[in-house]
């Protein structure tokens, strides 16, 4: 292991070192990685010059293939070649309503809330693991192109992704060995790329129709501040659905011509879906598309689809995007004439009838001067660059919101909303509860996400039990449950009993399908088979984390140590750093983690003082007398 370089306490670490940070667009159909080089956001290519990595993963007996090669094999090996895995992230088996048309062997994982897995020749694979393979490929690509290890990544998610889908994405990144700087909403990323590129000011709409998801976001852009006003969408609507309509149409045509039509094999299903996608893309610039192929039973498919037919087949899908659009406009309290521009994002927005519908709705021609496939990754790279600390003079501030309301189940299966949708992040809300019966010592809490009134119509996020409430008369206990949604849009719930001074403090991070132990085990497995190898990796991870922590604290000490701490307080912190430094030279990963926690704990007061100083600094120079009233 290379020796760690750590500067003398009190001195700042190597200044102006460019950190390697990337933005990753983990898409349904294609994925991309981008970075900021010499001030320009650029998409990174693979060795063949491809920018887009097809989000396709093929499992062989003892190898995994990702991208173009896997895509080429999808009709030959449909069961082991997973496409559009994003649609399954954070989802249970019963959520996938069209699984009859998908050629995978889905399995319900009994141990974890019915989360789905796919049976491949390499064993059962969860969507998180499959996505991690795509992320690993992009990580390798980036490290090769940039010539070093990545400091961190910003990963984009559809704005309308719920907590389960976000958590699954973060788990996948962790499994791929990526340090996640932030989960960023795709439309917000697009707005950053577009806004900075065009020095845009005012209210903009981002209409983002990807392979499997639809988002609409309305943002106010002002002097580097990107404030999301409202967002809406459909996390199960995208270009794939247009392919599927063509697929069904072809089947109908074939069926109407033959008396005996056998059910399609998995290979044929995949082949026809691929042909359908090609026809859709062809129709963007042509009047008609020929769909010709030979099925495995020898039957020949030869159909011609006209633009007019395609439009009528998919008109309802286009209309389906306008309902969330209207809702978002209403939530933002805006009328059409207040919209400065409409930016189209996502490959599916290349379809002319989508463009026409958007133009008709907003009464203006949509902006298409950025590549709809790349704009999200480019925006994510810009934020990654800022978050990694490469831009000191940054004026970029993203104020994003929660797309869906969060609530609790109350009597009769009704939802009590705690955090309304479109609340600016981070946000916290507390709700007080009491007991229903005398002597009741436990309470079940069910957290749901969605806009509907009935629990059964919303998505269940977490169920947990609060135990150890001191027995007392019904209605006497006071339990405060606090919801916190962080800047990644991820929820944590804590609860405490307030009477009798008993603090039953718990924190629940809803985790879908994968709990902390499972992720740790997967990570360990991926480190290699040998026990010694695993231990070495665990140690390395712990030391990297410790190093990150010490760097952060030393930077803080260099900045404010003299003004905010007395000699004793400073000595305290520095002795913790010394202890951790010594342990980092050793081999005990557990001790390194413990000492890191101790160091962090020792800096809590200092952190609070620094935050106060930041607040003062923010409004410094403002004199109350000079305020205009």
């Amino acid at each position: 292991m290379a020796l760690l370089q750590i500067s003398e306490p009190g001195q700042s670490p190597a200044p102006h070192q460019h950190k390697l940070a990337v933005g990753i667009d983990l898409g349904t159909t294609n994925s991309l990685v981008a970075t900021v080089r010499s001030g320009m956001s650029t998409v990174l290519h693979d060795e063949h010059g491809h920018a887009l990595l097809p989000s396709v993963v093929r499992y062989l007996q003892d190898a995994v293939i990702v991208g173009h090669e896997a895509q080429a094999a999808q009709s030959l090996d449909p069961v082991n070649t997973i496409v559009s895995v994003k649609r399954f992230m954070g989802r249970a088996l019963h959520d996938i309503t069209d699984r009859a048309h998908i050629p995978y062997h889905f399995v319900e994982n009994e141990s974890s809330q019915g989360i789905l897995e796919i049976k491949t020749r390499a064993g059962l694979k969860s969507p998180v693991e499959i996505s991690a393979e795509i992320l690993k490929t992009l990580k390798t690509r980036a490290e090769k192109a940039l010539g070093g290890e990545l400091t961190g990544a910003v990963i984009t998610v559809p704005a309308y992704f719920d907590d389960a889908q976000r958590q699954a994405t973060k788990d996948a990144a962790r499994l791929a060995g990526l340090h996640v700087l932030r989960l960023l909403n795709e439309p917000t990323a697009a707005a950053v790329a577009y806004g900075l590129d065009n020095a845009a000011e005012g209210v903009y709409v981002i209409y983002d129709l990807g392979g499997g998801t639809f988002d609409i976001s309305i943002l106010r852009l002002s002097k580097g501040v990107f404030e999301v006003l409202a967002t809406n969408g459909d996390s199960a609507l995208g270009g794939d659905d247009f392919d599927h309509r063509i697929f069904c149409w072809v089947l109908d045509q074939v069926r109407s011509k033959t008396t005996e039509f056998k059910p399609l094999s998995e290979e044929d299903t995949r082949l026809l879906l691929t042909k359908a996608r090609q026809a859709k893309e062809w129709l963007t610039d042509n009047h008609e598309a020929n769909i010709v192929c030979k099925l495995s039973n020898g039957a020949l498919v030869d159909e011609t689809l006209s633009v007019a037919q395609f439009v009528s087949l998919t008109e309802h899908l286009v209309i389906k995007t306008l309902s969330p659009t209207r809702k978002a406009m209403r939530d933002a309290g805006l009328s059409i004439d207040e919209i400065k521009g409409v930016v189209l994002v996502g490959g599916a927005t290349r379809m002319p009838h989508i463009r026409h519908a958007v133009q008709a709705f907003f009464e203006q021609e949509p902006l298409t001067n950025l590549d709809p496939d790349k704009v999200v990754a480019l925006g994510a790279a810009i934020q990654a660059n800022v978050l990694a600390g490469n831009r000191s003079d940054d004026e970029l501030l993203l104020l994003d919101i929660t797309p869906l309301s969060l609530g609790l189940e109350t009597m009769g299966g009704l939802v009590e909303k705690v955090i309304p949708r479109n609340s600016t992040l981070p946000i916290a809300r507390a709700q007080d509860f009491t007991t229903y019966k005398d002597g009741q010592t436990a309470m079940a809490i069910h957290v749901v996400q969605g806009e509907r009134e009935l629990v059964s119509d919303c998505r269940s996020l977490a169920r947990f039990e609060l135990r150890g409430i001191p027995p007392m008369a019904a209605g006497a206990a006071r339990i405060r449950v606090t919801f916190q949604v962080d800047a990644d849009g991820l929820l944590s719930v804590s609860a405490r009993e307030q009477t009798n001074g008993v603090e039953a403090n718990i924190t629940v991070k809803p985790s879908y399908g994968l709990n902390e132990d499972q992720i740790t085990n997967m990570l360990k497995d991926s480190f290699g088979a040998a026990e010694s190898d695993k231990a070495a990796r665990m140690l390395r991870e712990a030391v990297v984390d410790a190093q990150r922590l010490m760097e952060a604290i030393q930077a803080a000490l260099a900045e404010d140590g003299d003004t905010l701490l007395n000699a004793d307080e400073r000595q305290q912190i520095e002795s913790h750093i010394d202890a951790l430094l010594a342990l980092c030279q050793g081999t005990d990963s557990h001790a390194v983690k413990q000492a890191s926690d101790a160091l962090n704990h020792a800096t809590e007061d200092f952190a609070a003082k620094r935050m106060d100083a930041s607040v003062q600094k923010a409004l410094a120079g403002k004199n109350l007398d000079s305020l205009e009233l």
Partner: protein
């Protein structure tokens, strides 16, 4: 918990310079937002999340007239008690009933323009009450509590109308 007006360095009163509120909000978030603390220690990241959360909460409370009025009364130790105290003067209740009826009619006839007109009417009514509450907070705080309850009533009907419009549009 810091006084929200003090946090934004704004005078503690109902009439607010909204542009200044926006500016102060953005200045604060530019310093305390979690994006500025991605590489900081966990202790600082936690501080940042809590502070940014508080700034968001304060901004929301000050931005909306009803919550701003409620907060000003709360600072004076007066609780508006909207959950329990639903006693309203007769004429106000009459107006409520008329709005609810108009809403039901529009639901049947699916008349979205009528609902939009209803929203405009309620906004005008709310405006009058807001002007009234600005004076009452200083001169007659107990009276102000009733006005806040009225405003909350109107907000609630407006929310319902908005929800109905969303339903009808689907």
């Amino acid at each position: 918990m810091q006084n929200y007006f003090a946090l934004f360095q704004l005078p503690q009163q109902f009439a607010l310079d909204m542009t200044l509120l926006d500016t102060q909000y953005r200045k604060l978030q530019a310093e305390v937002h979690p994006d500025k603390f991605v590489n900081a220690s966990p202790a600082e990241r936690l501080q940042s999340m809590q502070m940014a959360t508080q700034v968001n909460e304060a901004y929301q409370v000050l931005k909306q007239p009803t919550s701003r009025a409620r907060y000003l009364l709360q600072l004076q130790g007066i609780h508006t008690d909207e959950e329990n105290n639903t006693a309203m003067p007769g004429d106000f209740l009459m107006a409520q009933m008329e709005w609810r009826e108009a809403m039901d009619d529009a639901r049947v006839t699916k008349d979205i323009p009528a609902l939009d007109a209803l929203l405009t009417e309620m906004r005008a009514q709310a405006k009058v009450l807001q002007q009234q509450v600005a004076n009452e907070i200083v001169a007659a705080p107990t009276q102000a509590a009733l006005t806040v309850r009225k405003l909350r009533f109107i907000d609630k009907v407006s929310e319902d109308v908005n929800q109905l419009i969303a339903q009808l549009e689907e």
